[in-house]
Amino acid sequence: MNKKKINIIALGVAGLMMVGCSESFLETTSKTDLNSTSFYQNEVQAKYAVVGCYDGYQRTVSNGSWPTLFQAVETMSDDCLGGGGPDDRSDRLMDRFDRSYMPDQIDLFNGLWGDYYKGIYRCNELIGSIDKISWSSDDTRNTIEGEARAIRALEYFDLVRMFERVPLLTAASTDVVPQSEPDAIYEQIVADLKFAADNMPADQYKDKSANLGRITKYAAAAMLARVYLFYDGVYNNNAGGTMPGGLTKAQALQYCEDVISSQNYSLEQEFKNLWPAACTEASTKEEGRKTTYVEASNEIVWVVKFNNDQNWNNDNINGNRFVINLGLRNVTSYAPYGNGWGACPVTPYANSLFRSGDSRSTATVINCTDIGAYKEQITTDCMDYTGLVNKKYCPLIFTDGTSMPAAETTVDGGNMQTNQDQNWILIRYADVLLMAAELGSSNAQQYFNQVRDRAFGAGVNNIGAAPTREQIWQERRLEFMGEGIRYFDLRRQGMDAFVAAQMGQANANGIAGGNPITIYNNKVATTISDTYVENNIRAKRGFFQIPYSQITLSGNIYTQNAGWE
C-alpha cells in the first residue's frame, strides 16, 4: 500500500471517529419527572410533599386494593355478614375467619399492606427532611410536620390494629426490618400524635370550606384518645394504666376536653345530614341532587376526602372505592339507593338494637322491605342476603339508574365504580364526647345525653347518672354502626366478648346457640350460623393475615399471625 492510500484510509478512519464522540450526546433527562435527590429542599416542595402524604393515606382506599380497611372491619364485625356474589369467597373468608373458603388466597391483604407502607414512606421522606428546609415560620414548619406525623401515626395505628406485629420504619429503608412488638409501635404512634396535638397552631385550618380534610391539632388530640382506649382495652384489660409513649388516661381525657372546649366542633343537628343516602331524595338526573347533606359539618373532626375525578385510565387516584362494594347488588330500581356488589349485609340482630324513635335507625340501615325491594330474588347471585344494607356509605343513583357521582363528574369515562366521592369520616365530635365520657370526664353524663338528645330529641331517653362503660359501648354501637368503628370497639371489650359476638351474629338474638336467622344464597333460603367456628375466630385474636408474599420477601424473617398459618 502506498502512502497516498494510507493517508486516505487514515482520513476516513478519523472521520468516523470524530462523529458522536461527545459524551453529552448520551446525556438526557426526563422532562416530566423530578428527581428525588433534588426534592424535599424548600418550603414549596414540602407543601407539595405533605399533600402527597394525604394522598398516600387516601390511596389505601382509592388505589383499588381489595379489601380496604373499612370493608374488612365491617365484614369482620358482628354487625355485618360477608355477602357479595357467589365467587366473592373472600367476603365469607373474612366474615367467618375461615381460610377454607378460598385456600389459595394467601395474599388477601397484600395490596392494603403495600398501600400503607407506601403512605408511610412518603411521610418518612418528608419528616426526615424537615430539618434541612429553611422555613418561613415555626408555625409553618410545625403545621407541616404535624400533618405528616399525624398521618404516619394513623397509618401505623391502622396497621397495628389489623396486623399487630408490623415492621416499624421511621426512616426510609430497603432493608428487611423485623416485625416490632406492638408496644414499640404504639410508642411511635403516641409520639407522632402528641407532636401534632401539642405543636400545631390552634387556629390552623379552622375554615372548613377551604380546609376540610386537613388535619388539625384537635384531630390529632381526638385520635390520641382513640389510641389510648384501644390499647387499654386490648392490652391492658381496660385497667386505665399508662400506655407506651407515656400516654396516661388523664392525658387522653384532657385531649378530648381540649377538643370540646375549643368550641370548634358541635353535633350536626340532624343525624341524617351526615350521610348522603340518608338525606337525599330520589330525583332525576336533570333535577340534580335533592339533598340536605352537610359535607363540611362542624361535627367532623377527622375526615378522609375523596373526589369524583377518577376513571379506569387516568391517574387521579381519588375515588372512594369501598362504597361500591356496599351498594344493593346489581339493582338500580330503588333510587336514590345505588347499585353495588352487596357486600356487608347488616345482620337482623344489629338492626333490631335500635329502639323506636331513634333517628339513627333509618339513617344507618336500608331495610329493603321498607323500600319494597325485599324479595329473596332481589338479585339472583347474592350471598348472605339479609335484606338490610348499610345506608351511611351506600352509593347514590338518579332515578334512571345513573350513578350520581358518575353523572356529576367532569372527567371522561366516569363510572360508578371509580367515581364514588363520599368522604370517609374517621372521627366525629360525637365520638369525642363518648370517648371523654368513657375516659371518666366529670361531664360524662352531659356528654352522653348530648348524643342521646340528637338521636331521640332533646330530653328523650336521657340518662340520670354518669353512664356505665357498658352503656357507652352499647351507645357507641348504635351511634357508629356502619362507620368502620364497631370492630375495633368490640375488640377492646375483651376476647370472650369478641368471640361470643362473632359466634352469635347469624342468630336472631345475637348470641351463640340462639335461633339462626334465614339468609338467601343465590335465592336459596338457608341458615349459616354453623359456619362460624369458635376455633377459627378465637385463634386469630382478631388480627389479620400477614401477606405471604411479604413473609417470603422478608426471607421468612416475618412470622405469620396465629390462626392464619
Binding site: 423530578l34 407539595y48 414512606y121 376540610l212 346489581n330 369515562g413
Partner: protein
C-alpha cells in the same frame, strides 16, 4: 384510484426513466449489432446490458434481444443480465455478434445480507436463514412476517390475534428476556418496522439467528436480527409489474354455544345441583318476543361474525436503469375487512409508496443512493385481550334468551347507536348485547410513516469502500374514538357521549459510517470493516378527551371542539423520551482458499437509558468455518457430496429494550393531588408530589451469550440441501423490577439479574429437481426444537409472578417465571378425573388427601401433591407452557409448463393452551356454555372429564389442568395454483401474465377444541397460550394476477 393520480404516477415514472437514460457516449470506430439469448430456452433476453470493457456507458437489448454498440477492434464487450453468468466477448472481425448467456445456477455464489454488508453464502460462518422476496410475495399475506411462518426454522412466529393489522409475536431461538423478545428489524440498513412494508417490495429477508452473526448489532441484537432488503432497480429495460388479488375471508372455526333449549335445560340442571328448583321460565317476560310470544334464541357467535369479508391488494411497480443509474418505484394498496363485525368494527387499509435509486458518479468512484418510502395505514379495531378487553367475550357469556333487537325496532338501520339494541333481560342482568358493543364505539387510528434513507459510498482506491448513510424515520399518528351514551346493563352503561383524540409525532435519525477494505496475501483473503453509528429518537404527544357532544353527537363529528362540556375534559401534552445511542464496531474476516474461514466482530454500544458510568457495553463475537469438501482427502466423495461446511460460532449480544430513565428515582406530581375543602371535581385538587420509585444507578445491559455449531451440505449435484444447527443461548442480567419488600415504601427499582437458557436444534432439508424439460419441482421441510429453562431470578422467592384476573373474575395467579422451569409456565392443580360418588370422596379423604370446601360427586378430583389433607398453593405444579417446543414446516412446489402449484404447511407442537370454555367462571353463573359442556357429568359414570354444573362452581374457579389442552397443530397455510398465459399470448412486451387461485389457512389438524391453537396472547410480554376467545384467524379464498411488461 383517480385518473389524476394515475397521470401523476406516469409522470413520475417517466421522469425517473429519463434520468436513468442519461448515459455517456463512447467514441469508437466500429458499429456492432447482435442479439443476446438464453442458453436454457434460446429465448431472447430483454434488457441485457452490453458494455465495452473499460469504457463508460453501454446499451441494453431491446424487446427482441437486439443491441447495437460501437467498439474498436480488440476491445472486449461485457454482456450481463441478472440471473445469468456475465460473458466477455472480444470484438474481432465480425460486426454481428450473437451471444448466448448461461443461467447462473450455482447457488453457492448467492450472497446473503449480513450486518453492514453482504457476504457470499458459501463463506458464511454464522447461523442465518434467508427468505427470498418472491417467496414472501406469493403467499399474499398482509405482513411479511406471516409469510415466514413455517419457512424459517428457529424463528417462531405467532400471531397475536386474527384482527386485521394486528401484530405478530416473533421469537428467535426461544424466549431470552422478560422485557422484550422482539428481534431487531433493519430495513435497508436502518432500524424500522417490517409492518409498514408492502411484502411485494421485499427483495430478501435474512434472519441472523446466532450471536456471532448478530453481534455486529451489539446491544440491540439479543433477540436476533431480521434484515430486510427492498427491491432495487436492475440494469436494463424498464420493467413494469402489476400484482393484484382479491380474497374473501371467513372464520376458519367458530365455537358452538348452546341454543335456547339446551341452555334452559342446563340452567335448570345447574339450579337443581345448587339446591334450588328449576326455573319458572314464564316469569321472565323479556326472554320472549314481544310480538310473537316465541322464545328468543339468539346465536350470538353467528351474529358477531361476518362471512366473505373482503381482502384485496394492488401493487404497481416499475424498475430499470442503466449501468450508472438504477431505479425501482412501487405503489401499493392493501385492505382487509375484519371477520368480526365487518369493516365497521375492524378494518385495515394500507397505502405504500417506495422509490429506491442508485447512481454511480465519477467513473464509479462514488455511488449515491436513496430509499424513500411512505406507508400510510388506517386501522379500526376491537378489543382482543383479556376478559375485560375482548369484544368477543360477551358473545360467549350472553344467554341465547336475549334478543338482539328491541321488538319495536327490528331494522338494523342504526348500527351506529346502541339504542336500537336490546338491553339486559329480566332473566340475566349481566347480559350485555355483545353485538351492540361491537358497533357502539367507533375508533380510527391513522398512521403515517416516512422513511428516507440516503447514502454515499466512496471507493477512493480499489477494494476500499467508505460509506455514510443517513436514515430519517418519521412517524406520525392520530387516534380518534367516539362512544355514544348507552345502557346495556346496570353495570355496563355510559350516560354521556365521549370523544377522545390523540396525536403523536416522532422521528428517529440514524447516522451510520463504515469503511471496508478487502485484500489478499497470496491465498489468504482478508476483509475488514470498521464503523460507527449514532441514533436519536424523540417525539411529542397530545391527547385530549371530553364529553357531551350535543348537536354533534355522531362519529363523523366527534371532535374535541364539538364537545360542549366546556369546563372539563382532559388535555395532555407530553414528550416521548429522548433516546440516544452511539455505537462503534468492527469486523475482520479471513478466508484461505474458500476452505478455512474465520470472522471476528466487536461492538461497543452506549445508551442514554443507563446512568453515567454504566452506559457502555462491549459485545464480541468469533466464528469459523471449514469446508471439508475442499480438502484433498474428500475427492472420493465428490460424486455425491458437493459441498460440506462445518460452522462454529460464539458471541455476546445485548438488550436495552426498556423504558428510559429506569435507573432514576423519580418524584412525580401525577395523581398526587388531594381535594381539600368542600365540593368535588378535579379542578379542586391541590397539587402534591411524592417519590414513587427507588433508583438504581448500577442498572446495565441485559446480555445474551450464544454458542452455535452447524453444517451446510449439498448432495447429488445440488439437488439435496441440508442445513443443521445446534445452539446454546444463555441470557443473563435481565432487567427486572424485582418486588422489594413492601416496607421499602416505593415501587421497586429495576435491577439486573436472572438468566434463562435456550437450547435447541434446527434442521432444514430441501430437494429440487427437474423431470424432463417441462416439469420441475422442489420439496422442503424444516424443524426446530427449543428448550427453555429459567435460572436465578433475583427475587427472594425466585419467581416473577403472573397477572391475575385474566380469564375470570377473582382469578388468582396461574402462570409465572420460576427458576428451573420454562418461562411462563402454567401453575395450578393437577387433577385426576372427577369424583363419581360420595364413597370416592370419602375414600379419598380417608387416604389423607384434601378436597376443596364444598366438593361433591361430579366435581374435579384435585391431586393433593403433598398428601397433607389440604388443597392449597403447595399442591400447585408446573402444568406446561404456551410456547411450542417444536416448530415445523413443509413446502412443495411444482411447475409444469405454464402451470405452477405450491403449498406451505406449518405447525407447532409441545405446548399447552389454557381455555376455560371461554366462560367467566367467577360471578357468571348464568352465562352461556359451549357445546363442550353437553358432555358434563350428570351422574355416576357419565363423564370423567367435564365436571357437573353448579352455581358458584369450585372445579373451574381453581385453575387446574382442566383448563389445559395440547395445542399441537399442523396447518395447511397456503395452497396456490397458477397459470401463466404469457406464452399463449406470445407477445414480446408481455413476459408474465399469471392468473392464480389461492386458499390461505385451509385447514388445521389439531385436537384442540377452541377456535385456534395459535394463541399469542399472554398478558405479560413473556407469556403465551392464554385463549380468552379473542379474534380468530380467517380462512381466505383469493384470486389474483401477476403481470410483467
Amino acid at each position: 384510484m383517480s385518473k389524476k393520480s394515475l397521470k401523476l404516477i406516469v409522470l413520475v415514472v417517466t421522469l425517473l426513466t429519463m434520468q436513468a437514460m442519461g448515459m455517456g457516449a463512447a467514441l469508437s470506430a466500429k458499429a456492432i449489432s447482435g442479439t443476446v439469448v438464453s442458453s436454457t430456452d434460446n429465448e431472447p433476453l430483454i434488457g441485457a446490458t452490453v458494455q465495452v470493457e473499460g469504457a463508460q456507458g453501454g446499451t441494453i437489448t431491446d424487446f427482441e434481444g437486439n443491441f447495437k454498440i460501437e467498439a474498436n477492434e480488440g476491445q472486449t464487450l461485457v454482456v450481463s443480465y441478472i440471473g445469468y453468468i456475465t460473458k466477455k466477448v472480444k470484438v474481432a472481425g465480425a460486426s454481428v455478434l450473437n451471444i448466448v448467456l448461461d443461467e447462473d445456477k450455482a447457488s453457492l455464489d448467492e450472497v446473503v445480507v449480513i450486518g453492514y454488508g453482504v457476504q457470499k453464502k458459501k463463506l458464511v460462518t454464522g447461523a442465518t436463514v434467508q427468505l427470498k422476496g418472491e417467496d414472501v410475495a406469493k403467499l399474499n399475506t398482509n405482513n411479511a412476517l406471516q409469510a415466514m411462518q413455517g419457512q424459517t426454522p428457529g424463528v417462531n412466529i405467532i400471531s397475536e390475534s386474527g384482527q386485521p393489522g394486528s401484530g405478530m409475536k416473533v421469537i428467535i431461538r426461544g424466549q431470552g428476556s422478560n422485557i422484550s423478545n422482539s428481534p431487531l428489524y433493519i430495513i435497508d440498513g436502518i432500524p424500522g418496522s417490517i409492518d409498514n412494508i408492502n411484502p411485494s417490495d421485499i427483495q430478501s429477508i435474512d434472519v441472523l439467528k446466532d450471536a456471532a452473526s448478530a453481534a455486529i448489532y451489539g446491544a440491540q441484537a439479543a433477540n436476533g436480527v431480521v434484515l430486510v432488503t427492498t427491491r432495487g432497480g436492475k440494469e436494463g429495460r424498464a420493467q413494469v409489474t402489476f400484482d393484484a388479488y382479491i380474497g374473501w375471508e371467513r372464520a376458519a372455526r367458530k365455537i358452538d354455544m348452546l341454543d335456547a333449549n339446551q341452555y334452559m335445560a342446563l340452567m335448570d340442571e345447574q339450579a337443581r345441583n345448587s339446591g334450588s328448583d328449576s326455573y319458572k321460565w314464564s316469569d321472565y317476560a323479556s326472554i320472549y318476543n314481544q310480538q310473537t310470544g316465541q322464545l328468543n334464541n339468539t346465536n350470538w357467535i353467528g351474529e358477531m361474525f361476518k362471512d366473505n369479508a373482503v381482502t384485496q391488494s394492488y401493487t404497481l411497480g416499475v424498475n430499470g436503469g442503466s449501468s450508472v443509474s438504477t431505479y425501482a418505484v412501487s405503489l401499493g394498496y392493501y385492505s382487509q375487512e375484519g371477520i368480526v363485525g365487518g369493516s365497521q368494527a375492524s378494518n385495515y387499509d394500507r397505502y405504500n409508496f417506495r422509490v429506491n435509486m442508485e447512481q454511480k458518479l465519477f467513473d464509479d468512484l462514488l455511488k449515491v443512493g436513496e430509499n424513500v418510502s411512505f406507508a400510510y395505514n388506517k386501522t379500526k379495531g376491537i378489543g382482543t385481550g383479556n376478559m375485560y378487553n375482548n369484544a368477543l367475550r360477551g358473545a360467549y357469556g350472553t344467554s341465547p334468551l336475549q334478543a338482539i333487537w328491541l321488538a319495536e325496532q327490528p331494522e338494523r338501520a342504526d348500527l351506529n347507536n346502541g339504542y336500537a339494541y336490546s338491553v339486559a333481560t329480566d332473566w340475566y342482568q349481566y347480559d350485555g348485547n355483545p353485538v351492540s358493543g361491537l358497533y357502539r364505539s367507533r375508533n380510527l387510528s391513522d398512521n403515517q410513516n416516512w422513511v428516507a434513507n440516503v447514502y454515499a459510498e466512496l471507493q477512493p482506491i480499489k477494494n476500499l469502500k467508505i460509506k455514510t448513510q443517513l436514515g430519517f424515520n418519521h412517524n406520525s399518528s392520530s387516534y380518534r374514538a367516539y362512544t355514544p351514551a348507552y345502557t346495556v346493563t346496570t353495570n355496563s352503561k355510559q350516560d354521556v357521549p365521549t370523544v377522545s383524540q390523540n396525536m403523536y409525532k416522532g422521528w428517529t435519525l440514524t447516522w451510520t459510517n463504515t469503511a471496508t477494505y478487502d485484500w489478499n496475501i497470496k491465498d489468504h483473503a482478508f476483509n475488514a470493516m470498521i464503523g460507527m453509528e449514532a441514533e436519536r429518537f424523540q417525539g411529542d404527544n397530545m391527547a385530549g378527551n371530553n364529553t357531551l357532544l350535543d348537536i354533534f353527537n355522531s362519529w363523523d363529528t366527534a371532535y374535541l371542539n364539538n364537545a360542549v362540556n366546556l369546563n372539563t375534559g382532559e388535555l395532555k401534552g407530553y414528550p416521548s423520551n429522548d433516546y440516544r445511542r452511539v455505537s462503534y464496531f468492527g469486523r475482520i474476516g479471513w478466508n484461505y482458499q474458500d476452505k478455512y474461514m474465520l470472522n471476528a466482530t466487536l461492538r461497543c454500544d452506549g445508551s442514554s437509558r443507563f446512568a453515567d458510568g454504566h452506559r457502555y457495553g462491549w459485545f464480541p463475537s468469533v466464528s469459523a468455518g471449514w469446508v471439508i469438501t475442499e480438502e484433498k482427502f474428500m475427492k472420493t466423495t465428490k460424486s455425491w457430496l458437493d459441498f460440506f461446511k462445518i460452522r462454529a460460532s460464539w458471541g455476546q449480544v445485548g438488550n436495552n429494550s426498556i423504558g428510559d430513565y429506569l435507573y432514576a428515582a423519580p418524584v412525580t406530581l401525577i395523581g398526587a393531588g388531594y381535594n381539600f375543602g368542600t365540593g368535588k371535581g378535579s379542578e379542586l385538587n391541590t397539587v402534591g408530589a411524592y417519590a414513587n420509585r427507588l433508583g438504581n444507578d448500577e442498572l446495565k445491559w441485559e446480555t445474551s451469550e450464544q454458542t452455535d455449531l452447524g453444517f451446510d451440505a449439498r448432495f447429488i449435484g445440488g439437488r439435496l440441501n441440508v442445513n443443521f444447527d445446534w445452539y446454546y443461548k444463555k441470557t443473563k442480567d435481565w432487567i427486572v423490577q424485582a418486588p422489594v419488600i413492601a416496607t421499602a415504601g416505593a415501587d421497586a427499582p429495576y435491577i439486573n439479574g436472572g438468566d434463562v437458557t435456550n437450547k435447541g436444534i434446527e434442521i432444514g432439508l430441501s430437494w429440487r429437481d427437474n423431470i424432463g424439460k417441462d416439469f420441475s419441482y422442489s420439496v422442503g421441510a424444516n424443524m426446530a426444537y427449543n428448550k427453555n429453562e429459567v435460572g436465578k431470578i433475583p427475587t427472594v422467592d425466585g419467581i416473577i409472578h403472573g397477572s391475575t384476573n385474566i380469564m375470570f373474575n377473582n382469578q388468582t395467579e396461574f402462570y409465572r417465571c420460576e427458576n428451573g422451569h420454562a418461562m411462563g409456565y402454567f401453575w395450578g392443580y393437577r387433577t385426576d378425573g372427577l369424583f363419581q360418588n360420595q364413597q370416592e370422596i370419602d375414600n379419598w379423604i380417608a387416604a389423607g388427601n384434601g378436597v376443596l370446601t364444598g366438593t361433591a360427586p361430579g366435581d374435579v378430583r384435585i391431586v393433593d401433591i403433598n398428601n397433607d389433607g389440604q388443597i392449597n398453593d403447595a399442591d400447585k405444579v408446573d402444568l406446561g407452557n404456551g410456547i411450542p417446543k417444536y416448530n415445523f414446516g413443509f413446502n412443495l412446489s411444482l411447475n409444469y409448463k405454464n402451470f405452477d402449484f405450491s403449498t406451505v404447511w406449518s405447525g407447532a407442537a409441545g405446548f399447552k393452551v389454557a381455555n376455560g370454555g371461554y366462560r367467566n367462571w367467577g360471578n357468571g353463573d348464568q352465562g352461556n356454555y359451549t357445546t363442550y359442556f353437553l358432555q358434563r357429568w350428570t351422574g355416576e359414570g357419565t363423564s370423567n372429564e367435564v365436571p357437573r354444573l353448579v352455581n358458584g362452581d369450585i372445579s373451574w374457579t381453581n385453575f387446574s389442568d382442566l383448563y389445559l389442552q395440547k395445542g399441537d397443530y399442523l396447518r395447511i397455510a397456503n395452497i396456490t395454483l397458477g397459470y401463466d398465459f404469457s406464452k399463449l399470448i406470445a407477445q414480446k412486451w408481455l413476459s408474465q401474465a399469471r392468473l392464480y387461485f389461492q386458499i390461505q389457512n385451509l385447514y388445521t389438524f389439531t385436537h384442540y377444541n377452541g377456535m385456534d391453537p395459535e394463541v399469542g396472547f399472554g398478558q405479560d410480554a413473556w407469556m403465551s397460550g392464554i385463549d380468552t376467545g379473542s379474534y380468530p384467524h380467517a380462512r381466505t379464498f383469493l384470486v389474483g394476477v401477476n403481470l410483467k411488461f
